[in-house]
């Protein structure tokens, strides 16, 4: 684990501000990305902007409703406020999605591990100069967005090639379309496949793994980042390994019921992992490859 940006409550300012007590943030802009995904840009009312590594998450509070774990979708290189992409799937996320510019939201974090794409991560299994394959399913692109920004920028400076493979339910559910176009302009190979086409859709229809054969990366040197529904991650990781990608160089993002964010409450335990602390980003090799294939008890 490279990140030293994880919050340690023992090192906080005494009252656990940020780790235990939400820091008030104001919604400075909101964007309806798809019918059920809203991007909220948040600025702290006071104090510095949170420093977050791609892949980490915050606990967002909709006051009077509840708290929920939401990954950060802005990139460290983004000059603007921190962004969260919220999918309207429950009471808390519904309240967050309905928030308006000027509303206050509580933020605790950042929590968890990251995608290991930061320059100071000298032992990163991702940044060895080989190709990097990023596979995202649905809203799973949100926690990967910052990592792709980093990787594409790095590729322009002589780093490994970047391949972004996107799976979505249908064309209207594809998120970050502007980013996909920008990444492609900047040299990344971006392929998108949907489960269900539409009359206007002229692109690929099929499982996201069907994009692997067309992508054209060098499996022997490639690393991979995968985020999406667990079944999608399981089949994607297996397909990558079958192609020759080293499982130790595949990272996946796992999520369970994140509550405290500090590894205290145990709600997010998965096998030996407390995912809010040891995850969400974990190596696929070893325990995780088995956990992804086993029924939880």
């Amino acid at each position: 684990m490279s990140s030293d940006l994880r919050l340690d409550v023992t090192e906080s300012d005494g009252d656990g501000r940020g780790a235990l007590t939400p820091i008030l943030h104001r919604v400075v802009s909101r964007h309806q990305e798809t019918a059920d995904v809203t991007i909220l840009a948040l600025e702290p009312l006071s104090g510095p902007r949170l420093e977050v590594r791609p892949g980490q998450f915050n606990m967002l509070t909709a006051f009077g409703v509840g708290e929920v774990a939401i990954s950060v979708s802005s990139a460290p290189r983004d000059p603007g406020p921190i962004q969260h992409s919220v999918r309207d799937v429950g009471q808390v996320t519904h309240a967050l999605c309905r928030s308006r510019v000027g509303d206050l939201i509580g933020v605790r974090g950042p929590f968890g591990t990251d995608w290991r794409v930061s320059l100071d991560d000298v032992n990163s299994p991702i940044l060895s100069g080989g190709d990097v394959v990023v596979m995202a399913g649905g809203i799973g692109l949100a926690p990967l967005r910052g990592a792709v920004h980093e990787l594409v920028a790095r590729a322009r400076e002589g780093g490994g090639r970047v391949f972004v493979l996107i799976g979505a339910r249908e064309p209207a559910q594809i998120v970050f379309n502007e980013d996909l176009a920008a990444w492609e302009r900047d040299g990344a190979r971006v392929l998108v496949s949907v489960d269900r086409g539409s009359p206007q859709w002229r692109g690929r229809v099929g499982l996201v793994t069907t994009l692997l054969a067309d992508a054209g990366f060098d499996a022997s040197s490639a690393a991979a980042l995968i985020c999406g529904p667990e079944i999608m991650m399981r089949f994607s990781a297996r397909a990558l390994v079958d192609m020759g990608v080293d499982p130790h160089r595949i990272l996946v993002s796992l999520e369970r019921n994140m509550q405290c964010g500090l590894g205290w409450c145990g709600h997010c335990q998965l096998g030996p992992f407390i995912l809010c602390r040891d995850g969400p980003v974990v190596p696929y090799a070893g325990v995780v490859s088995h956990l992804l294939s086993e029924r939880e008890r």
């Binding site: 929920v68 774990a69 939401i70 990954s71 919220v86 999918r87 799937v89 429950g90 996320t93 399913g137 649905g138 809203i139 799973g140 926690p143 799976g167 979505a168 339910r169 559910q173 496949s193 489960d195 086409g197 009359p199 859709w201 002229r202 692109g203 690929r204 229809v205 099929g206 499982l207 793994t209 069907t210 054969a213 067309d214 985020c227 999406g228 529904p229 667990e230 079944i231 999608m232 089949f235 993002s253 999520e255």
Partner: protein, 156 residues
Amino acid sequence: MSESMADLVRSHPVAAGLGDDAVALLVGCAKNVAFNADELLISEGASADTFYLLRRGHVAIEVHSPERGALVIETVGPGAVVGWSWLVPPYRWTFDARALEPVGAIAIDGACLRTKALSDPAFGFAMLSKVSVELLERLQATRLRLLDLYGRTDVQ
């Protein structure tokens, strides 16, 4: 220098691991073909006498609905086998296959291949095994899509 038909067949994944004799049998039923964008490789209801080993370009497997027009079930690209109905009676195509862009393919005469497979069971089994690999992969992918993975709330 143009590639021979044997080279073209050998370069397709379906021929991977096949011996020279088997490739020669396959080549005897094969010809090189090309399609323009929007051209149909296969028409629903037509006799399934030729299937295709895609070399370049993508193809949409479609079914037509009076209310909704052509519905794309999936798209396939280079390395794929397009058409399986030549394998089993009544040898009739179930879906359309439409070129999404200029497509290069090896057309295989299904009746020719069936005849050779019957007279050479080892070759027949090898071919059936090859086609079954893709059948299985496509069936598994279809099953996963039926789960509507991205409609779930697993990731936030």
